[in-house]
Symmetry: C3
């Protein structure tokens, strides 16, 4: 077995064994879904956003998710407080820049988070990563209408600028720390028919980052498992909602062995 | 084929072809569901409520949904900002007056929105439309306990007062611009067993209004398709939750031809 | 038939006959789920949190749920306003102390609610009840990592201190008013794989409390029915999400007779 696959399977086993708390400060649309995804992959979810408690809460967490999908000023403040505390504790922070590029508020806020915090992984679609990297792309609401012309270059530039790992998800997922590149070929077109699948992918990345300090590999692991679950779920789908039920069931049912066998991760961005 | 049916099928085809952005400022209970309904019918959803970004966001939208289901003052302010910008751009605004009649805050806020903005369509249940029209009816929480004695008169009066289209949904849906009247006979009793089906219907209306300037017909189209999906979903339901899965699958799977064939829309309010 | 079972079946029949409004001031994660559970058991849900309307809304309610899962200061203020009005009207208030013990804000807020209001039932997991009673236990995020050494003593102490009924849910549910004790043996391990099942249980308790002034028995009834629905749903589950669909369907489909027959409630805490 490819050593990457073996390591991805091992990460899932560690999530299931240690049940890391994944603290989310996330948007109002996906809270229920991402809490369930956290539980199904093996972690413990908590959604807490008040400035008074986020620093205390994140101190118990294995990873922190910052997701700006339904932004408001007081939540941004809480994200900064929680993020700084996570940085002090070396707890990985995973950023989902939902809708970056769609409005100035979203673009500016994401750049502020990237500048103010040490972000372990940024997980976004082509339009969002394009907007943040300055390499172009278009976002309509929260959907990527078009990505940057060269996604890998955009991801690499963003990763280098902010010393982070960038995971640009789409038909194929590109992950880079600015030098190394991994490509994840798992996934299914049904994922585009549901709201919040990007946010769910981010939660998967956070769960893996909670148990693996090589964040490039952690991101690949989370995305490969999510994509694999989607592939298997598609066999039972009659539409987006039955696909979602099957997807969540699969995330719960997949074993470390199945994930190690089914992950399709390759080195390089070709 | 009835020309109305043909036009309804054509509208769905246009939604699928143009994927209009449907900007929602909506309640916390239904955000996920209405985002998914938007995607399944063929549009792109975005939920954005911060005063700083709503005017910018709505400028890219094909329609704006204002839904007061879980009201708070800062969201009302955002609704007014987004609504005014939508009015400037001639983008249709669809209002869902959730719980109008249940509390003074809800009744007053909905009337303020109706007075301050040019609303394309108001979609509410009998109790809500009754309360806003002054024709009576009772709302308990967000449910219509009893509608106005004469629903058509209530709908007509509200439509005339605010120069809008009123869609009063129930066992049969009545839609009027104050003069013309359409009745939609699609639907299923299972819809009453789920939370948020009124809000979902509003989202359907908004998606159709994004591609059709005859808002009376657009409202009929959205409601007919929603009701038709419910009829087909009921065949697979073992209870409300399996009904919901089937309903969402159906909204996604229905083709323009099926909707044109299955819509049961008649002129007049008899 | 055991008289307790008969009374539980009768309560469900009363819920279905009178459709009490269950006013929730609850967390952002579970709003949709608990609204649906309210409808499926037979009540009418409303989620309303603005300080300006909560007193008016709760005046029409059969029960008030206060759930602190995603806390912020303005919501706490609304909880106090609604709770005081409910107390004046003798409307039962059911508290779900989500995450008590996890942060100081959560522990302090729950104790403040317990001191300021007359709470009919507190429904929490072992860690939460342990933290509030001072009897120990550990909460990680919102999950009970470990309960108090002697759950019954913790529940009893909390009940006595605040003159309330405490329902400590887990593999077996312990319910006490400080003197009398009931144990509910219904339930299923699948409930631990889904987010918000504690909150759903609280909603069930509130629906039963809306029609039964013996809150000890009402809590047992709500929890027994919820657990029974879970047992039946487990037969159709392929994972947590299909379990959830089946659970919600079952809550809707269960008849008073089935609940009277299937409830496994015993007196005492052994």
């Amino acid at each position: 077995m490819d050593p990457i696959n073996q390591r991805i399977g091992d990460m899932l086993a560690r999530i299931r064994a240690t049940r890391p708390l994944i603290h989310h400060i996330t948007n109002l649309v996906v809270m229920n879904d991402t809490a369930n995804v956290t539980l199904h992959v093996g972690g413990l979810p908590v959604m807490a956003h008040d400035a008074e408690e986020v620093a205390e809460m994140v101190a118990h967490a294995g990873a922190l998710v910052l997701n700006v999908g339904t932004l408001s000023p007081d939540w941004i403040e809480s994200m900064l407080i929680a993020g700084r505390r996570a940085n002090e504790l070396q707890t990985p922070v995973v950023l989902d820049p939902v809708g970056a590029g769609a409005t100035q508020l979203r673009t500016r806020t994401n750049l502020e988070l990237l500048r103010s915090l040490r972000i372990a992984v940024v997980r976004g679609n082509g339009g969002e990563i394009g907007a943040l990297s300055g390499e172009g792309g278009e976002v309509k609401g929260v959907e990527s209408v078009s990505g940057p012309e060269d996604p890998l270059t955009a991801a690499r530039r963003l990763a280098q600028t902010y010393h982070t790992v960038v995971a640009l998800t789409g038909a194929r997922d590109i992950i880079t720390d600015g030098e190394r590149v991994l490509t994840v070929n798992n996934g299914h077109i049904w994922l585009t028919t549901l709201t919040g699948t990007g946010c769910m992918a981010t939660t998967m990345v956070a769960a893996f980052a909670a148990v693996e300090r090589d964040y490039l590999l952690a991101a690949a692991g989370g995305l490969a498992m999510f994509g694999l679950a989607a592939e298997l779920a598609a066999e039972k789908a009659h539409g987006p909602a039955s696909f979602k039920v099957a997807l969540f069931d699969q995330i719960y049912n997949l074993t470390p062995e199945q994930v190690a066998n089914g992950a399709r991760v390759v080195e390089g961005g070709s």
